[in-house]
């Protein structure tokens, strides 16, 4: 079995020999005809002999290779029989040229013409078998592509989108598995077991033994059962070629147990941890939502505005080499309103701002409220009250707000409740009461509120 495939794989190598020999004989024949020379006779004979022998070898090796399976049936049919045709024609041509078959003078050139044309066709089908039908013209100029696409059946795009929210579970994850591992035998022409797996309708129709997909129950679904049998089992699928990988099996199991929907999107339902992990590992799809500052882009801050900020005591740094958002920190103590106002120079760019423990007052917070892209604000340990916090309500993308050690009380939480984007809030060492925190948490279960920590007694 394995030795057959081993030998078979030499087919693509050997197959170039008859092409060369027959083509050489053909060209010599043309040249001999044109120059009316007879001195080529023996050379043509020699070429044809080698051509016939290597063609025969190629046919045998090709037959062995085809036994491995997994090739498109109709293409393989044409490639196989055309190839055999070429081999027979070449043998015939040699016999004619060597005078072993008496024939008219026109027979040899005609045979060679036909051989060369058939070699071209056979070679093309061979190429389609190994590289796929789109390989040849994938990078063809536009007009050729256009000519071809009018005839070609529209292929659904199954390349994986980069954004997780545009991934359709069946189309982008499940269909490629079935196409790679099952469709070679379960298509319209081959229909092994009466089962076709090329379309939604056919999959749901099932095969001779009935339905293969029981929505919600992978362990009762033939489609899943067959791929997880012991590989020695007669019923194990696929019987030839690569078995399904661990990830593929898990995806199939998850898809069927989730109802085997054909139009569900990846993010429609919460993903199990395991699926999340294997999507990341094998498909490089991360379903974690990127932070705001990585989803949105801004123009870089001008050098003059950065200089102005530096001059009044701020240190600024881009979030990264290719992200123009700024992280800004106050290094000077007890700033004036004018100093803080300088932040508006880069109001679009500031996304992280640290003013902790620097003597910030309520009067300065209206400036902060005008920084539309702020995601992280540290104003802890300042003389800030409930009134100042009101100014922060407009921060539509704020996720982190540190107010520990400020003068705020329960009333501040009413303003904070309006910041829908917020997910961490720090109110340790303030007058905010535990009841108010609990009340806010009820409204906003995803908001983590930290009001300090104490160990339980361990003795």
């Amino acid at each position: 079995m394995n030795i057959e495939i081993f030998l078979g794989r030499f087919h693509p190598l050997i197959v170039h020999l008859p092409i060369g020999f027959v083509l050489l004989a053909f060209l010599m024949m043309l040249w001999a005809k044109r120059s009316k020379s007879t001195s080529f006779h023996q050379a043509i004979s020699f070429s044809l002999l080698l051509g016939a022998a290597s063609a025969l070898g190629s046919v045998i090796l090709g037959w062995l290779l085809a036994s491995d399976g997994g090739y498109d049936d109709s293409t393989l049919f044409w490639h196989r029989w055309l190839g055999i045709g070429v081999a027979l024609l070449t043998i015939f041509a040699w016999l004619v040229n060597a005078g072993k078959i008496k024939a008219s003078q026109r027979v040899l050139p005609a045979t060679l013409w036909v051989s060369v044309i058939l070699i071209g066709l056979t070679g093309h089908f061979g190429g389609v078998l190994t590289h796929g039908s789109t390989y040849l013209v994938q990078y063809a100029p536009g007009f050729i592509q256009k000519m071809l696409s009018e005839n070609a059946t529209a292929n659904e795009d199954i390349s994986l989108p980069s954004q997780p929210d545009s991934i359709a579970v069946y189309q982008h994850l499940i269909a490629p598995i079935i196409n790679n591992k099952c469709v070679a035998c379960h298509n319209e022409s081959k229909k092994k077991g009466g089962l076709i797996l090329t379309s939604q309708e056919d999959i749901l129709n099932g095969g001779e033994q009935g339905e293969v997909v029981m929505a919600g129950d992978p362990y009762e679904s033939g489609l899943f059962q067959r791929v997880v049998l012991p590989q020695t089992s007669k019923k194990f699928m696929p019987p030839k070629g690569e078995p399904l990988t661990y990830s593929e099996i898990k995806l199939l199991e998850w898809w069927i147990s989730g109802g085997a929907s054909f139009d569900e999107k990846l993010l429609d339902k919460p993903l199990p941890k395991e699926i999340e992990t294997l999507l990341l590992k094998d498909f490089h799809v991360s379903v974690t939502v990127k932070p705001y500052y990585e989803r949105v882009a801004v123009e870089p801050a001008s050098a003059e505005s950065i200089d102005k900020l530096t001059a009044v005591g701020f240190s600024t740094k881009p979030l990264s080499a290719d992200n123009n958002f700024l992280q800004v920190e106050l290094t000077a103590d007890s700033p004036t309103f004018q100093q803080i106002e300088a932040l508006l120079e880069v109001s679009e760019q500031i996304t992280w701002l640290n003013l902790g423990g620097k003597g910030i007052t309520d009067a300065m917070l209206p400036v902060i409220g005008k920084l539309p892209n702020l995601t992280k604000l540290s104003i802890e340990q300042n003389e800030i009250t409930d009134e100042g916090v009101q100014e922060l309500r407009k921060l539509a993308h704020l996720q982190y707000l540190n107010l520990y050690g400020t003068k705020i009380s329960d009333k501040a939480l009413e303003s904070i409740k309006e910041i829908n984007s917020l997910n961490s809030l720090y109110v340790w060492q303030t007058d905010v009461s535990q009841e108010a925190i609990e009340a806010l948490n009820e409204d906003r279960p995803n908001l983590t509120i930290d009001s300090g920590f104490q160990f339980e007694n361990v003795n």
Binding site: P291, K317, L319, S320, A321, N402, Y426, D450, F453, F455
Partner: protein, 487 residues
């Protein structure tokens, strides 16, 4: 210029020839084809500019702005702290099956043992928190905060002895001479506070055990200003920093200014990078004269904070006091704060010795994490707890009802992280029922280091330094970011 100084020059003859000949050649060639593309594109292109693409900017937005690394030197026994293996108790005293060890090497200390009796942990384990992490009774404080922690139970290393192992996890190589993690970060990202070093080292006082060498926080081949600066307990936290009696700050400043002028002259002539490193260090030392006493003086910390870290925290030089200092340094934006606590090397007398170690470290570690959290600092600070390798599931020496020891074990051990960018209440990887081999999601030292750099916004493949003719990275030619750990 004197010939003896040639080795000091920034631009050597070799550099000159390389740059001109190769440069011109490359210029011509690159106008014809793009040779870099042919060899894998961007990555190589970036490698051609060692470190220069960083200059204080991260490769991508960082989740962590600073790191506190609590290195438990000597290798704590994962089997008695976090990696709960009831089978070992069931099979206590029985021989370690050959099928489990699979012929893997053991250290010279136990290789001669006639028998390898399995040793179950004498300490009781409980699942704690919502995440249900297993923690032994030795860590009652850490047990209370497991929902903040990210355990990696499948760490493994190649080193089998302390010095190579601790050198490996700190520098990415078992051989001495490479820069420490903190030095790489100081070199790549610079400092967020000019008045303090970006890499500070705190070592628990009066501990014995496996030795710690300054090279563990050394700069290796990076410029010297990137080496870790050790802050000691006591009158002189940084040695030789204070002015001698009779020298007032004004005089010191003037002296430094003149010195700098001289050094600058020398630098202009020789362009030796070590001179600029020296200038930077003198200036840093001058600034440290005021900033260090300020940071080391914890007298203004309220009582409830001392109580949180434990009574030890009032005694300078203890692990608890160092944890408190670590928080203060983190508040001041020191980029890499490295703590060392020796004494985990329990080849014998494990039950008693590990109890003491845990008493010294359990509460302060947990307090540090929660103190950072209540101040909002855990959001961008990464805390790491862990040793250099694990300990064996069999006893070194005689196993008695009350006493046993555990030898070095490189095949698996547990560390935990908390804070910026790592999942909380999460446990990653698993070992077999015997706690001998990793059976799920192994994390190598280099993977851990790659992940650490990733959290700080650094692509571990792009932070490089050319030395002795080739470019080096912290992870050298290894390492994969463990994305599963990231939020």
């Amino acid at each position: 210029m004197h010939h003896c100084h040639h080795h000091n020059e920034k631009y050597t003859r070799r550099d000159f020839l390389t740059k001109t000949s190769l440069g011109l050649g490359a210029l011509t060639l690159s106008s014809l084809i793009d040779p870099l593309k042919a060899f894998g594109g961007n990555k190589l292109q970036n490698l051609n500019l060692p470190g220069s693409d960083l200059l204080g900017k991260t490769h991508f937005p960082a989740k962590a702005k600073r790191v506190i690394y609590l290195l438990q030197s000597g290798a704590p026994s994962q089997l008695d702290l976090f990696d709960h293996k009831p089978l070992l108790n069931k099979m206590n005293g029985q021989e370690l099956p050959d099928s489990v060890r699979g012929g893997q090497r053991v250290t010279g200390m136990t290789a001669g043992q006639a028998s390898f009796p399995l040793a179950g942990s004498p300490f009781s384990f409980q699942q704690r928190g919502e995440s249900g992490a297993w923690v032994s009774e030795l860590m009652p404080y850490t047990a209370q905060i497991v929902d903040e922690l990210c355990f990696v139970k499948s760490m493994y290393t190649e080193a089998i002895n302390h010095d190579p192992a601790v050198t490996f996890i700190q520098t990415g190589s078992q051989f001495p001479g490479r820069p420490s993690i903190g030095s790489w970060l100081s070199y790549g990202l610079g400092t967020d506070n000019e008045n303090l070093p970006s890499f500070v080292v705190l070592v628990t006082k009066n501990k014995t055990g496996q030795p710690l060498y300054a090279r563990l926080w050394g700069n290796g081949f990076l410029p010297s200003e990137h080496q870790g600066v050790q802050f000691r307990a006591g009158k002189n936290p940084v040695l030789y920093l204070t002015n001698p009696p009779g020298v007032d700050p004004m005089a010191r400043r003037q002296q430094l200014d003149y010195l700098k002028e001289l050094q600058q002259k020398q630098y202009d002539e020789l362009e030796d990078p070590e001179i600029s490193a020296r200038i930077a260090q003198y200036e840093m030392a001058y600034r440290l004269q005021t900033s260090v006493p300020e940071i080391m003086d914890t007298s203004a910390e309220p009582d409830h904070i001392y109580e949180m870290y434990g009574e030890d925290s009032r005694k300078p030089g203890t692990y608890a006091a160092n944890c408190l200092l670590a928080r203060r340094l983190a508040e001041k934006d020191v980029k890499f704060i490295q703590l060392y606590h020796q004494g985990w090397d329990q080849h014998g007398n494990l039950p008693n010795a590990i109890r003491t170690q845990c008493k010294e470290t359990d509460q302060p570690t947990a307090a540090l994490i929660m103190d950072l959290k209540q101040r909002g600092l855990l959001d961008d600070t990464l805390v790491i707890w862990g040793g250099e390798f694990g300990r064996t599931n069999y006893s070194q020496g005689k196993l008695t009802a009350t006493n046993f020891g555990r030898d070095h074990h490189a095949q698996c051990y547990t560390i935990f992280m908390a804070g910026a960018g790592v999942k909380k209440g999460f446990s990653y990887g698993a070992t077999d029922e015997f706690g001998y081999n990793v059976v799920q999601n192994p994390v190598h030292i280099h993977d851990f280091q790659a992940t650490l750099l990733h959290l700080l916004g650094v692509d571990h493949e792009r932070l490089t330094f050319k030395f002795q003719g080739r470019r080096y990275r912290l992870t050298d030619v290894h390492g994969n970011v463990v994305k599963d750990l990231l939020t």
